[in-house]
Symmetry: D3
Subunit: 269 residues, 6 copies
């Protein structure tokens, strides 16, 4: 008696394996970040043990999320979760260097509290670093859901496959795109609207390095577009705003674009 449209939807539904909701995955990450950064939390732990217990509970919750994600039938989710939490102190140390970089680099930043609570750059980097650790452990889907969460909140789209060194600085950030095979060194600064992308987007390139390499201490100003898997921004280089770059530049380079503009001023009679 049902319509053929309902039958079509019903049949399709059968083939869709369940995955925990984006909300549940985001809650897990937010809980984890609230332990690492009490600036985000309304709750204070009474003892160090209490922190350990909560970390253990979040490790269990990760196992549960992974088990419920049917995309990976052969994964050893206990081992993955253990490995992830074993890396957490290192991720935490990296995130603290990012906070330092933002406080040091933005004249408007008054202190680290403000950075943790109100800087989209830190929000995006912190979710990326969690996602990247999971990605490195070959967890399917979840890393991407986490970085898309960051993208929705901040407009900063970092693929979990990208590798990013310490003291990473993002300011404003809206419109930043960092592709899957990008390598970013230490002490790199990116401003809003920067794309680190691919020259070609042929599906056949899925397993090759398609996105640039940015070496240590490089600064890339707003709106710059840097494309291609073989493009290397040498260390200590400065890429000016709106620059379009598809070739490598040597270390200590300054690249800029002086677009000719025309100014016509109307005489007011």
């Amino acid at each position: 008696m049902s319509t053929s449209f309902a039958q079509q939807l019903f049949q399709k539904q059968a083939g869709v394996e369940p995955v925990p909701s984006n909300h549940r995955i985001a809650q897990w990450a937010m809980s984890l970040l609230c332990i690492l950064f009490p600036e985000k939390a309304e709750y204070r732990y009474e003892t160090p043990d209490a922190i350990d217990h909560q970390l253990a509970a979040l490790q269990d919750e990760l196992v549960s999320i992974l088990n419920a994600t049917k995309a990976c039938h052969s994964c050893n989710n206990q081992e993955i979760a253990e490995a992830f939490f074993a890396q957490l102190p290192e991720v935490y140390a990296l995130l603290n260097t990012d906070i330092d970089a933002i406080v040091a680099g933005d004249p408007a930043a008054t202190n680290s509290f403000e950075v943790v609570r109100a800087y989209p750059g830190f929000q995006a980097i912190s979710l990326y670093r969690l996602a990247h650790a999971l990605y490195s452990l070959h967890v399917p889907l979840i890393p991407r859901i986490l970085t898309e969460q960051a993208h929705a909140q901040t407009g900063i789209d970092i693929h979990p496959g990208a590798t990013i060194g310490h003291h990473f600085f993002i300011d404003h950030g809206t419109g930043i795109v960092i592709g899957e095979t990008t390598h970013i060194g230490n002490h790199v600064k990116l401003y809003q609207g920067v794309t680190l992308g691919a020259l070609s987007v042929a599906k056949s390139m899925a397993n090759s390095k398609r996105h640039p390499t940015v070496e240590d201490h490089a600064v890339i100003y707003s709106g710059a577009t840097i494309l291609g898997g073989e493009t290397v921004i040498g260390h200590h280089s400065i890429i000016g705003g709106n620059v379009w770059l598809t070739k490598s530049v040597a270390p200590y380079s300054t690249v800029y674009h002086r677009p000719e503009i025309k100014v016509e001023t109307q005489i007011q009679a």
Copy 2:
């Protein structure tokens, strides 16, 4: 006894007709998308009939939302809702072509599940397609509230009045703007930061075609700006990143912008 400010606010309030909250409207759309795309849902329907019943209930809810939107006193909301749900299989078919386009076009996309759950492009297109169907039925306000919902979540701003063909591909998407009178053909690809806008924004132009036409199989790379109601991007054309275009280009054209950049490399002593 009340302050004159309160009296001012009170008087203004009297003239504001109620409209269902953005939240209620978004919930309705989300419920509908969860039926169409079980990848988004935590719930599985037991029978095709159950899907039909839920669609019927969402049609009733649409009537209720439209009745509560006092902007349109003369609308036949029962007929509008019926017409909208009659178009739903077609909208669904279109959205499936969009998923196919994203899976085929993005080397980083692993499967359609990931696209439905974690791709902002699909999120924006799916809300746009619902909004456009309502816009075509002359529903006031609601379509715009839906696409603004998508804009807030994804940074992709598609006016519900735009017409867009099948197999529409958006990647990353932050900063994309697609104006009210834009026509987009089939198999078109847009990257982040693309504007399809108006040359002039005089209020007097409200009823004329102010935004471009993009023909089938065109690809427009990140940051390109294409303006004007008479501007036509011919089919199979490729518009390079950051191109600024206010005139038509013939089919099979490649348009690019080779901005002169200066590279100065500092010699390290």
Copy 3:
């Protein structure tokens, strides 16, 4: 017995003073905006007195939020909250000029209801104007949390320190960045992706004017970048899309950028 990582987190936690959650701060602002703009609210007040009482309650809530924000031990929060609410009628009047500017300036805007409920520009400006009033009263942290809320929702990043005149118009808005020491006059229009930024971001410049001045009736089209604290856009000037500008322009100027593009059209045999 606890791990050294937990001990590290526990020690850090001790030094972090509590601040009300971003959620609570955003709720306060949203409640205030719902009184000012009943288009946003599902509730109508029965009398002007009821509006006065609700404003008084929100003033108390602001005192409570400020008291709970330990960043400012010496602030007289009662006086700050009083001063803020004393400015509210003026803020309201300014916001109404912004609505007028959007309705007048966007051919797609049908009426002020739509602007209040569905325009990201108005959403960002209204939170900015509240935040700026608090910033002017030297309230720490809260102003920045409010404007970051707007940034997350709209992609428009206005620093609470910027000063902005009446009839401010933003369309689409994703990617707009307006720096801390920017001065914007009356009747100014900004489109998506415009940056009003600093030429240099040295931390030592924190207390100097680092961002541009935009005089009355200027229009700045999408993607334009204007940098530097001494850069002045003269009144009635028009800055074209994608223009990169680090120097002042006289009143009544038109600045544009005619990038050379190459068009190659493939002949189809």
Copy 4:
């Protein structure tokens, strides 16, 4: 590494089949009652069709609840749900007689609205009648969860197995207990604290009639206790407050208990 207590709990957990939460079951029943009795609802349906669709959706939800209740592997849940909803008009008619009985019987009741919204008797009877219909269809667990919901809200404990005729009146109701095999006729009135119970509670009696029969038009005042499966309260009988009865009484009987009380009054000098 885990404690033996945790291992014990873990092993036990494995044997516990999932059943939908009490909350979900109660929500289903509340949604159903809100359709039947708009006095409880904040929502008005726009058309009769919308009511039909909502009933259909609640029938689907019942199938889903039954399918998720693993206690009954062989049940045909589609048929059960259909049979339940087929009985709904009859249940509704009965509940309307109950409302009539309460309005007619309680001097304090001003109208049927008050009865539906604020009378615990009606709350308990309405959940019982839904539960009884499910019980009659041999649904496990759910009926009992529904009547326990009523018990928690009202202090009235009616076993879903009891049979109760039309025009059933309960006033105040706290402490009423009506056992599984009770038969109650039409136009019966019960006051608070009445027990219709078993004389013996041997487990072996699980399948025999253990609770009384109360014939039409009987009235049982507060605190009366009537026990035993063979005890019949004849029609039109009145059982006085606090009476303890384990034998049948003929129709048109009045049973009362005149406990001797002693009154000692202290003379005040």
Copy 5:
């Protein structure tokens, strides 16, 4: 096309005037009690003014609830709400005497905090006193919804029409019923299961005094039933547990019931 059952429900719905939900009414009362008794609240007010503002806002909310309760078209809801809040200090003073009575009268009560937070007697009395003040102002429906809220939470059913003096003490309380026309003096104590009811429940008696009078300093132990509008329990009387009383007793009386019980002790061989 809709079923006749849906049509029947649809027609009935049309005649049901909206009344704010029980939940909204209960929230209003709970907010009021949280101001009066900070033991219940998680929030502390920063200034006395803040308390005044919150009371004013709750007075507005009462007007809004009354306006939305269509049962009373001719009521002057502004005046009613004013009158109610004018009585609040008196209600508060009465409730403080009730707390004193409970602390003084219950050996298990350790302090007033415990009474306010964990004593069902105080919960029931506090909602009753609010409801009675509204009842005295001829507000329809709302008083009864408030006392039924208390009944559901505590098993104590006090009709809002009853009049009750100061220092009222209820312990445990489950099953207490106090009828509409009951008069209770000062310093009265009631234990669980006490009924102060009507001898006859003929609808024709709706406007007459049907329930007892209990004079000052009377104590009524658990399970006692006292019936009839002319029944007066003289001051300083003590009514023993389970007593059934339908006649007046003089002041300083002690009434008890020595039911004969049989004790048979089985000899264990």
Copy 6:
């Protein structure tokens, strides 16, 4: 400027120390019961370790609740929480005997799942057992808040100070009152409306045994009232319904009350 009433409330507020909300305390207990009884939970733990971690987290939460309860400044809350959780396996074992007793004793009980999910007796006993363990550790306020939670849900009022042996059976339960100094042995059964109370309620008796002792295997039927600290119900005794008892009875006694009732049957002409 504030009213004197507000000033009065403000001054009172200052003296009220904060205590975590009843809701938070109830959530803690419910989380604990969901681990012990997966019948109540929607979640399954993946490993025994995960259960241990969750128990540890709930122990931390108890410390936090106790620390926030300012009533006990000198308590060592870490030790109390440890001691409580050390007792948990024993509490769990006791609760399992209670489930067994209910399944064995109620002909209507089909299995232990039903008892855990839908029996008010078990709900009340389980909260009582948690509360009693805390009471035994001299925790203020929290135990009473827990048992009052149970009272509100079930109408069963067990003071946390009472001591109760294993295999405790309560059926229906509404109106049961068990006083602070009651001792109840093993295998005891209580039906609805039973009071185990004090003969006198003089405040001076706060530290003496005021409530009865009920020995092993006693059964007390509905509505019985047993009073006095020296009253002992000997083991294997049966106390009939509505019996009023203020003296001890020997083991193996049967106590009943055969109230004389009058039956008048009206002849129908």
